[in-house]
């Protein structure tokens, strides 16, 4: 793995060919990325919520709230919370769609799904939630199934993002919308520098102390840098078929919420 102080790290350079992709700053075979990402999330699943609060100083809760507000969810809606992990969005959606609605919590990683399921059951949320272990690139649902799809902090871990976006488009109902909440590129250079320092120097240390796994959080920092910036992701969504695509920067662009419709 690349040094955390390497200032020449390849920020967002597409150095992958047809058979390779990025795993942080490394270039790996496409079929290798899935198992590498899986091992990261198997490792961090139990400490995921604590680490999220620590790393973002609790702001991730506001980012998720913003996503739910922007979704325009209403009673009776069918929602897919993709890469839903420990179920933060699912918990809120479940209460807002009511008895007539349904929320599917989907994640490729069984450990994350188990932690999410236990957490939601402990909260008494059982009546309108289903759990599916699924790969975002090959969603196991019929065409035109969901009113809303959200993917929060998950898209950057997907091996083939374009394929995943096309798969999401397929399972959305006409009139439905996709919301992608993901780390992005800070708008101001000063914020960018501070954020870089925090991500590569402090974040892996927190991971090492709290989750006893510095490498996974090193990957997290690297994967954020390799993720497409705001405009690139918007173009990718347009290419996948989404219409009226837009994005909003949150916390100075540290995170961006992309939204697109299927008509």
């Amino acid at each position: 793995m690349m040094s955390s102080h390497d200032q020449n790290h390849p920020i967002n350079n597409d150095t992958s060919d047809e058979n390779t992709t990025h795993f942080g700053f490394q270039t790996v075979e496409k079929n290798e990325k899935e198992s590498k990402v899986a091992s990261v999330f198997h490792s961090v699943a139990q400490q995921y919520d604590v680490m999220n609060d620590l790393m973002s100083f609790g702001i991730h809760r506001l980012w998720k709230r913003f996503t739910i507000d922007a979704s325009g969810v209403r009673p009776g809606n069918k929602v897919l919370d993709l890469a839903g992990g420990t179920g933060d969005l699912t918990a809120k959606f479940s209460q807002l769609v009511g008895r007539e609605g349904k929320v599917i919590l989907a994640d490729i990683n069984s450990s994350m799904l188990n932690v999410g399921r236990d957490k939601l059951r402990d909260l008494g949320l059982v009546q309108n939630i289903e759990y599916v272990q699924a790969n975002a690139q090959y969603l196991p649902f019929e065409d035109n199934t969901f009113d809303i799809i959200t993917i929060a902090f998950g898209l950057r871990n997907v091996t083939d993002k374009d394929m995943a976006l096309r798969s999401m488009y397929r399972v959305l109902k006409p009139g439905g919308r996709l919301l992608v909440l993901e780390f992005s590129k800070p708008e101001h250079e000063l914020v960018n520098k501070a954020y870089d320092f925090y991500s590569f120097n402090i974040l892996p240390k927190i991971g090492e102390i709290v989750a006893k796994d510095g490498d996974s959080y090193q990957y997290l920092a690297e994967s954020i840098r390799m993720h497409p910036d705001q405009e690139t992701l918007k173009t990718m969504m347009d290419t996948a078929g989404f219409e009226q695509t837009s994005f909003k920067n949150l916390t100075g662009g540290v995170v961006a919420l992309h939204k697109g419709y299927k008509f």
């Binding site: 702001i59 809760r61 506001l62 980012w63 709230r65 913003f66 739910i68 507000d69 922007a70 325009g72 209403r74 009673p75 809120k92 209460q95 807002l96 009511g98 008895r99 909003k248 920067n249 949150l250 916390t251 100075g252």
Partner: protein, 213 residues
């Protein structure tokens, strides 16, 4: 469209998160409030306050109220200001406020009335809530201490107010009493009337002189 600082800082989400936590804590202390939520299940009340750049929507689900800053869907919407919202507490203010254009209601009025009923049923017995956490005797003692403290503070407040009035009005003569103010106002009105009468008299005299010349 460029985002405002409040959007960047997610002020709307922070406020709705705080409101949601506080409201549900209050509801948790009060069984009547929770029971009153049942008929409102899955109903949403949106309040658009003149003082806030975003709406606040209150949605009921099971035994909780969810607060959001999204008004994509609601059963009733109140467009008003914080001061008018407080005035709504008084009975029979609704029609008056609507007539004065201080309140606009869109949608099902019953939903707004039921939300208002819930707000009024939140009568919390703080001493018994405290007793559940720290025990009966400490809670009783703390309650007793609190009441004593409140009484002392009230007394001190009244005393300070009286002493301050005495010092400012009679000793330092920095301010005047309400009666003196009223006498002064009356004198000013009398002078105003006399000046007005004098000015009319002068006008008449001027006209009379101009006719003679």
């Amino acid at each position: 469209m460029p985002q405002t600082i409040s959007q960047q800082l997610m002020f709307a989400q922070a406020l709705s998160a705080i409101l949601e936590t506080v409201i549900n804590q209050f509801l948790g202390y009060n069984l009547h409030g929770i029971r009153a939520l049942k008929p409102l299940s899955e109903k949403t009340l949106t309040i658009k306050l003149a003082e806030l750049p975003f709406p606040l929507s209150f949605t009921v689900s099971d035994e909780k109220i969810h607060v959001s800053s999204n008004d994509a869907h609601n059963d009733c919407c109140l467009i008003t200001s914080i001061s008018s919202l407080i005035e709504l507490k008084k009975e029979q203010q609704l029609t008056d406020l609507i007539k004065k254009d201080k309140l606009d209601i869109q949608g099902d009025l019953k939903v707004a009335q039921r939300f208002a009923d819930i707000a009024q049923t939140l009568d919390i017995d703080w001493q018994s809530e405290l007793a559940k956490r720290i025990g009966d005797i400490p809670a009783y003692k703390l309650g007793q201490l609190g009441r004593k403290l409140l009484k002392t503070l009230n007394f001190a407040g009244t005393k300070i107010q009286a002493d301050a009035s005495e010092w400012l009005i009679h000793q330092k003569r920095l301010i005047i009493t309400a009666t003196e103010m009223s006498y002064f106002n009356q004198d000013v009105e009398d002078v105003e009337q006399q000046v007005s009468a004098l000015s009319q008299r002068l006008e008449q005299l001027t006209k009379h002189i101009s006719k003679l010349s």
